[in-house]
Symmetry: D2
Subunit: 132 residues, 4 copies
Amino acid sequence: MTQKHTLELRVRYSETDAMGFLHHSNYLTYFEIGRTELFRAQGGNYRRMEELGLFFVVVKVDVRFRKPARYDEVLTLETEISRLTPARLEHCYRLMRGGELLTEGHSVIACINRAGELQRIPEDLVQLTQEP
Amino acid sequence: MTQKHTLELRVRYSETDAMGFLHHSNYLTYFEIGRTELFRAQGGNYRRMEELGLFFVVVKVDVRFRKPARYDEVLTLETEISRLTPARLEHCYRLMRGGELLTEGHSVIACINRAGELQRIPEDLVQLTQEP
Amino acid sequence: MTQKHTLELRVRYSETDAMGFLHHSNYLTYFEIGRTELFRAQGGNYRRMEELGLFFVVVKVDVRFRKPARYDEVLTLETEISRLTPARLEHCYRLMRGGELLTEGHSVIACINRAGELQRIPEDLVQLTQEP
Amino acid sequence: MTQKHTLELRVRYSETDAMGFLHHSNYLTYFEIGRTELFRAQGGNYRRMEELGLFFVVVKVDVRFRKPARYDEVLTLETEISRLTPARLEHCYRLMRGGELLTEGHSVIACINRAGELQRIPEDLVQLTQEP
């Protein structure tokens, strides 16, 4: 079972700031793309999950910014599931420029329903993300 | 009836780009804030309207950028209703820095329901926005 | 000489709004990506141009929103140069979902230096973008 | 010396996502506004600091999301300096809706020059931010 996913992202002009760097809030957006694509690679479909009334919400996130990224650079994002409990999923992220580590992150997401109540992550989803 | 509204906005760091300017996509966000606050000043409540299943969608927008805005500048946005039909509202926008005109815009918004079908703008709303 | 470029974009979660649609301000960001990639396909490098002290600024933009886009949809953006003068470049944009036209746009960009003064678009750049 | 600052922010439509919540990446933007306004209340001027070639970069951030915020809600952000060393500033953030705590955050920022080298935070700035 795929527990890790790698993708490439090119820094958009709209994502830069007056310092000439990728604005730090966009890293959370990049990490979200990483989670989505890992989920897709595992056979999941987040959009369909939402149509069923289940949502993932971010409960906790921490980021360590080591080096800045700049406009038009192509970066590599590695996303990995680091922990899985019945109601929570934890991911680790490493954003690289070539062999150079720019940023590391970690997040905890939880599964809720439309009423905002915590839900067990559905069985078939757990199966998708657990080690065999 | 109020047909015009003025508000102040301070340019956020996250809204700037590598050129050091307010990124041009954010003007559409500023205009939206102008529309919302004009609507509120008229006694409307857009959030409640959405809860009733009615939405305003932007159908058309054009913007003329004259001079750039920079980080931390306090800008003045004037929003005015320029035309009203049963299903559409047109607004004009002028973004100023002191007496200096930076940007002019114009938008057309339409009223739709959850199914995406065009709706008459509700009577009480029309009343709010029509000249006496 | 390439005067037209097509690329695919997947709608990010962070780009959606409470209506469930791609927020309309993001179309300007998409169009900017289209311009950049057309420029790259023509042999240009916008980042290097900035390092030389030349910048493209958006002078005018208009957008016609026909149908909304939603989270996770893969859209096709066609970008085409519609007019070229010594100091200005005009582009047309068509954003499609499959064969369905969602949005059309048009922009005028101008070349400036660090002082914000209008500049002739460099010869080699003109050559890149003119029809033979 | 002011070590704490409180401000109000209204959630913008463009900041919401398809779940109907304030998208989590925007909290980093809110925290940045909190830091800027605390700095201003202390007599600092971040824009002038940048003109002198000194920049604050975010080195580390962590956020704990407790409850979601929604469109048009007026939130209260409390920003406090929690630690000060010669080259780093740490802030704590609490985002409230009325008396209800929605989100807590913590960040570490460092002072760098144009070359990206770590700099001592200027004496007069230290004075501004140290307890008497």
